[in-house]
Symmetry: C2
Subunit: 373 residues, 2 copies
């Protein structure tokens, strides 16, 4: 496996903000996109951070993502918002939606917002955290290109359909962000790069049978030839496949159904995107004293962390704990970026005319074909 290259957070921030401005986004918009991407890298979720830069850029080049699009509110009540994303950048549509939802929840106690005709929005948790940072409960979800095969099916019909929830707690907030598939496509790509067989219970071949062949499964996904990733709970009802499929449906409802948007099985077909998102904000004050609720919740989280461990296990985590640990480490020691991702960043600089050495330092990378060829 290729080595990583370590950058400080400020260095990546400067590069990323410059990069998005170079593509045509305003300074403010570039800051938002950068903040979403880098939180992912800081949290140790490399698949949704800098690694996405070239994919976003290509999406813009192909016309899938429109740089100058503005989100529009097409329907609203004191507790809801429906937003037309106009094929804009997912991060900008989502930041707008969550900001407005927080404003409404400040007055009404709750707001549910959904966005249609948007694009990949990065990590769902970022937006849930926006609410938690204000003392509220936040939810964020998104549909995506179909990759989840429903129980007893052989064709992907739902996206990886992540659901994220964040809520204030001490010493750190609850932060739960997970796809409703067993794993994400990124995991399959990683196993493919390592030429390792996939664990049982992850993926399906084009006939709907379990497959350990990452390369074959990925090829079929790209060709839309059948197969894909199993719902959380696997492929049979014995381990709860229908439950993961059910949570995938919950996500789909709050993203594409209530917004009258495009369901996962129809997005990303014939050059059209159509990704939809769902958000919710709940002010805990509508249930009582927020400080007492936070205290009560923090006690339960502590009890979970302190509960007896399985033989051989050292630690029980509460959701968000690993992210806090990763964040502190990377802010102090820097962020390791995969060398292939750095190569893509170099290609990007060369393509758009940014000084490689200024932003990415003196590099000695193996020469490969550009990501843009």
């Amino acid at each position: 496996m290729a080595k990583d290259i370590r950058y400080t957070y400020p260095a990546l921030k400067e590069f990323c903000e410059t990069a998005f401005q170079k593509i045509g986004f305003s300074k403010g918009d570039s800051e938002i996109i950068t903040d979403v991407l880098l939180l992912s890298d800081l949290y140790g979720i490399a698949s949704h951070g800098m690694q996405r830069l070239v994919r976003y850029h290509k999406g813009i080049e192909k016309g899938l993502i429109k740089v100058d699009a503005k989100p529009e509110i097409v329907f609203e009540t004191p507790v809801s918002l429906v937003i037309e994303g106009n094929d804009g950048m997912g991060q900008l549509n989502s930041y707008f939606a969550m900001t407005k939802a927080i404003e409404k929840a400040e007055k009404s106690g709750i707001c549910i917002a959904n966005v249609r005709n948007s694009n990949h929005f990065g990590i769902a948790g970022y937006y849930a955290k926006m609410a938690a940072d204000k003392g509220y409960i936040g939810f964020a979800m998104t549909n995506s290109e179909a990759i989840m095969v429903p129980t007893f099916g052989k064709k992907a019909m739902l996206g990886s359909n992540p659901i994220a929830m964040a809520m204030p707690a001490k010493p750190y907030p609850f932060f739960f962000d997970a796809s409703t598939t067993v794993v994400t496509r990124g995991k399959l790509e990683l196993y493919n790069k390592m030429e390792k067989p996939l664990p049982e219970g992850w993926a399906l071949d084009k006939n709907g049978h379990g497959s350990s062949d990452a390369s074959d499964v990925l090829k079929n996904i790209v060709a839309k030839a059948g197969g894909g990733i199993m719902p959380l709970g696997g492929e049979t009802e014995q381990l709860g496949s229908h439950k993961g499929y059910g949570y995938g449906m919950v996500c789909e409802i709050f993203c594409s159904i209530l917004s009258m948007g495009i369901t996962s099985n129809h997005t990303h077909i014939d050059g059209k995107g159509g990704t939809c998102h769902g958000f919710a904000v709940i002010n805990p004050a509508i249930f009582g004293n927020p400080a007492e609720i936070e205290e009560h919740f923090s006690t339960f989280l502590r009890e979970l962390r302190e509960a007896p461990k399985a033989e051989g296990a050292e630690r029980i985590y509460t959701h968000g704990e690993k992210e806090v640990i990763a964040y502190r480490d990377r802010m102090e020691n820097g962020i390791d970026i995969n060398v292939n991702t750095v190569a893509e960043m170099v290609d990007f600089c060369e393509f758009v005319g940014l000084d490689v050495e200024k932003y990415l330092g003196k590099l000695d990378l193996e020469k490969k074909e550009s990501s843009y060829n």
Copy 2:
């Protein structure tokens, strides 16, 4: 395995309503409890139907469930309700909470209600369906005696923590009701009765290792000696254990945390119950035209049912389809009640002084020790 005895729905309804009146509930309250229990049997979920009668009765005898308790609203806003259950019957507290939540959602568009200090409420889906029957989206959840072992733990800290969601659709509503554990305790009891080894990925022994020994796992659960059931996704992160654990947390938050109630790890200890529930109602009209949204949703559900099947599979179900099929069958052909459950119903009649033959017919059951000994 013991045979089943078939009853018509009206016969069971008459028996059940009479039984609960005999215990001390009003006619109206007995009708509500009966309706919840029998919907479960009609849906084919025997574990939460008539099978529960003697357990509820024993709960009342022990003082865990208070027959004359009345739910009280202790906090409310136009979009929320917190209800003190006063150790009353779970079905009555929940019916009250959902009825009030629907009333508020009619005005405000959304309402979240939670209930503390209640008891086992039957199937979560019943209450979600109450909202869907009115054209709304409904959610219902409950915590319970701890049975889910968090990832890397060996002690049960969360309940089976089911989450149910229902939403109008054609030709039948979406109805998703599932525990956030891989399976429920009822499944373990069934395997124990059949003396079959548990499938891999269901349960943990008292050291936190996978176990196929149903009898041992159940014994440990009763003795609170350690072990329990795995979260949806199993015991390791490889298959997503942390995700099932996360959904269990979402349930816990909406039940016991926001209501300042008792978390699963502290319920049912020292003769105290303390079960908490969470409910939500969302009027789809806050997002646009409900008829158009229902149409859009129904199209997606149809596409799922019609999607290509895995080799060897005959049918892809959407959530709620199996329940509708079971309901129609049982309304027409009657409901099969397990002979052991019928024996319990006989014991109940003898204990409270109800005419067995009048309500349960002429029976020729093997004589066993009474359930009340």
